[in-house]
């Protein structure tokens, strides 16, 4: 299973990168989101996966008796999901604003800046 | 006993879900697909959830499952309504077999107001007669 998931992670990285490399700002954001999902999956996988045993201690016990999934990657991913959400929300609005001002979805219209001025 | 019940409920639930899926594939237009979707899935999932409720045999869990079921039954039709309405609105075609369309030209394109004016017979109906 890990192998498939690893491939999937790679696909998400690749798809994210590819989308970021496009000229549309919307695609850029979609790319970032895909990429972010890929990263989460990577962390998840590298924390090693466990099936069907969430890191929740049974009501009657004080600690685990059975195997359990590593809670740390989960906590990390949770944090990163939330943070990414904040950033993505901001990014989406940035797109909106950018469109409003620049009247285009084309990233190549953004390159007046780096030229010598 | 409860195991058997679970098996039956889950089988039925799965069946309905499967039917909904097949229906979604087979149905010729958006509105029919919505129809199929909303019902079969709600019933199917309701049954599957019920199976879980029986399995855990705990009042707290059962009430929660009940809450889920109620929730699905509450939201699914609203979703269906919204999708159907929107589908009509954005001009999704009704399938060839549709012979009555009372809704035709009832929406005000600009304000999205929906009138209740009588239009005795719509054009689709006329054609089919």
């Amino acid at each position: 299973m890990e192998i498939l998931l690893a491939i999937m992670t790679g696909v998400l990285y690749a798809a994210g990168t590819y989308m970021i490399l496009r000229r549309s700002i919307v695609k850029l954001i979609i790319g970032i989101i895909l990429f972010g999902n890929g990263v989460n999956l990577l962390i998840f996988l590298l924390g090693r996966i466990t099936k069907g045993n969430p890191p929740i201690i049974s009501p009657e016990l004080k600690h685990f008796t059975d195997i359990y999934a590593d809670p740390i990657p989960q906590a990390l991913i949770l944090t990163s999901i939330v943070i990414s959400f904040g950033l993505q929300a901001f990014a989406i609005i940035l797109v909106k604003r950018a469109y409003k001002v620049l009247k285009t979805d084309d990233l190549d219209m953004l390159n007046t800046l780096d030229e010598d001025s | 006993m409860s195991e058997l019940l679970i098996i039956i409920l889950s089988s039925l639930g799965t069946l309905f879900a499967l039917l909904a899926a097949i229906g979604l594939i087979r149905m010729p237009d958006t509105f029919l697909r919505i129809s199929v979707n909303t019902k079969a899935a709600t019933l199917g999932v309701g049954l599957l959830l019920a199976a879980a409720a029986i399995f855990f045999n705990d009042l707290a869990i059962s009430t929660r499952v009940l809450a889920i079921i109620i929730f699905i039954f509450l939201t699914a039709p609203i979703g269906g309504h919204l999708l159907g309405r929107t589908g009509y609105f954005i001009g999704n075609k009704l399938c060839d077999k549709t012979h009555i369309d009372d809704l035709k030209d009832q929406y005000n394109k600009k304000t999205h107001e929906l009138s209740s004016n009588d239009q005795e017979e719509t054009s689709v109906e006329k054609e089919n007669k």
Binding site: - | L74, I78, L82
Partner: protein
């Protein structure tokens, strides 16, 4: 959207979802859930309301401005994080627990306040963002 059906549903759903969000918040320490998801659900309830009844209406029915919820929530979390520093000379974020067991919630401790802060922040943030967008849409 002018749809009566959604409007009616959202009127019913709003309080239920809010209730549910508190539920999710409070059980977080023992079961899946917590301040973040709880807050999101509360926010979603209001967003639903905004979709159904229009933004102005949603703004009106919320007694507390979302922009106020953000600092408020952060203040709560912050307070629970620094209380140990200033009152007991313990490190930042040290969990403080009241002795005894409170019904419904279980053991009451700074973690709960912390999570509640998170809850408010998430509600405030989500609503601020979505309301702002809808207004300028």
């Amino acid at each position: 959207m002018k749809t009566l059906i959604l409007k009616t549903a959202s009127d019913i759903l709003l309080p239920v979802l809010l209730l549910f969000s508190v539920f999710i918040l409070l059980r977080g320490h023992y079961l899946p859930g917590g301040g973040f998801v709880g807050g999101l659900i509360a926010a979603i309830a209001f967003v639903l309301d905004a979709f159904a009844n229009g933004l102005e209406n949603s703004r009106k029915i919320i007694k507390i401005h979302p922009g106020f919820l953000m600092p408020l929530g952060l203040l709560i979390s912050f307070a629970s994080a620094v209380t140990p520093v200033f009152f007991q000379d313990l490190p930042f974020m040290t969990g403080l627990w009241a002795s005894g067991h409170i019904p419904v919630i279980g053991k009451i401790g700074s973690a709960l306040f912390f999570d509640t802060g998170v809850y408010f922040v998430v509600v405030g943030v989500s609503l601020t963002i979505i309301f702002t967008i809808s207004e300028n849409a």
